[in-house]
């Protein structure tokens, strides 16, 4: 149990820049070093974790913890993965308040904000490739963008509608066959 916790604590601590960055780390720790799961199992697991809602890193941790030690194992890996970020961000939140009105900090963040917007924009095209966007379904991301950006729709509803729409489309297609 302690091994599970410390392994995922380390994974949570060294994951910088999102879930995909942690795949090599998990591979090295969980597959090569501890041999908790096989390499092919990890690939399947990545596909499942991606298609499930929630945080990628947490999802993977839950799956491995559950597989090895049941619900308790899943609890331990969740705690291990989440704890480092929780503590670090809390420390920053407590301190940042005192600095954010400082003129130098404000200037630094004036430079950083446009960069953050670009960092979010950059993966759009890669995601479009992965989602197999073509001329028949390009209207879906376009409509989703307009609904959220110009009409102020909540992304949560957009996701719900898209899932239900996909389901209904499948039903209609099957009826025709």
């Amino acid at each position: 149990m302690w091994e599970l916790f410390s392994t995922f604590f380390r994974i949570g601590l060294f994951t910088i820049g999102g879930g995909y960055a942690m795949i090599p780390l998990i591979e090295a720790k969980v597959v090569d070093e501890k041999q908790w799961i096989g390499r092919e199992e990890l690939l399947d697991l990545i596909a499942v974790a991606q298609s499930c809602p929630g945080i990628f890193a947490i999802n993977i941790g839950i799956f491995i913890g559950y597989k090895l030690r049941g619900k308790r194992g899943a609890f331990v890996t969740t705690l291990g993965t989440a704890l480092p970020s929780f503590l670090i961000i809390l420390a920053i939140a407590l301190l940042f308040r005192q600095f954010q009105d400082n003129i130098y900090v404000e200037r630094i963040f004036r430079g950083i904000r446009p960069a953050v917007v670009a960092l979010i924009a950059a993966p759009v095209f890669k995601m479009a490739q992965m989602a197999k966007i073509n001329r028949y379904n390009i209207w879906i991301p376009v409509v989703a963008t307009v609904l959220i950006w110009l009409m102020g729709f909540s992304p949560i509803y957009v996701i719900l509608i898209a899932g239900i729409g996909g389901y209904l489309y499948g039903q209609i297609k099957e009826d025709k066959l």
Binding site: G19, F75, I112, A118, A121, I140, A144, G166
Partner: protein, 192 residues
């Protein structure tokens, strides 16, 4: 204050439940609820959270839940220890749906992954997630983050240049995002 805790929990529970497509898609949802719907913080404050989440280790979803939980409470005028509790509530809430779902799904989804119904649902979800990402970046292109040509032309054009630099360096040259953020922070300190 109790209602704020309840709303935080409910909001982040929904975000955890419907957060398909990784950290950036989640950011779009968090922004929609936290800035757009509940006005718990300004767009600038939210962008700062994303920047800090990028620079610190850990999943972006956890990072932003922790930070939003704290900021929502303290922005509403409550003491820092209530902020800490807000962090805990938001973080727990964002993880809880995954915890329940992944345990159920790790039993079932492997068997039904190629079931037509599951595939159809995802054929609708995946393109929508792309739209979510595009909307997230468009929603953040505000005067608060970029200034305007009339209000402060110097800051506006520098912001546009930094945006283009960050976009090209990560997209084309695959530069590490942390390095991009650090460089743009340095540029802001020197020229803005």
């Amino acid at each position: 204050m109790i209602s704020l805790f309840f709303l935080l929990f409910w909001t982040f529970f929904q975000i955890g439940l419907f957060g398909f497509g990784g950290g950036y898609a989640m950011i779009s949802m968090i922004q929609g609820e936290v800035v757009g719907h509940y006005h718990w913080m300004t767009t600038s404050q939210f962008t700062d959270i994303v920047a800090i989440s990028q620079m610190t280790p850990g999943p972006i979803g956890i990072n932003s839940a922790t930070y939003v939980g704290y900021t929502a409470l303290t922005n509403a005028g409550h003491a820092w220890y209530w902020g800490v509790l807000g962090s805990a509530v938001a973080t727990l809430a964002v993880v809880l749906p995954s915890f329940i779902l992944m345990i159920l799904i790790s039993r079932f989804l492997m068997a039904y992954k190629h079931h037509p119904t599951v595939e159809h649902v995802f054929s609708g979800l995946r393109p929508a997630v792309v739209g979510l990402l595009a909307a997230a970046s468009l929603c953040l292109m505000t005067p608060e983050n970029f200034s305007t040509p009339s209000a402060n032309p110097w800051q506006f054009w520098i912001s546009v240049a930094l945006f283009l630099f960050a976009f090209v360096s990560t997209k084309v040259y695959k530069m590490n995002p942390i390095r991009v953020i650090l460089l743009c922070g340095l540029a802001g300190l020197l020229v803005m």
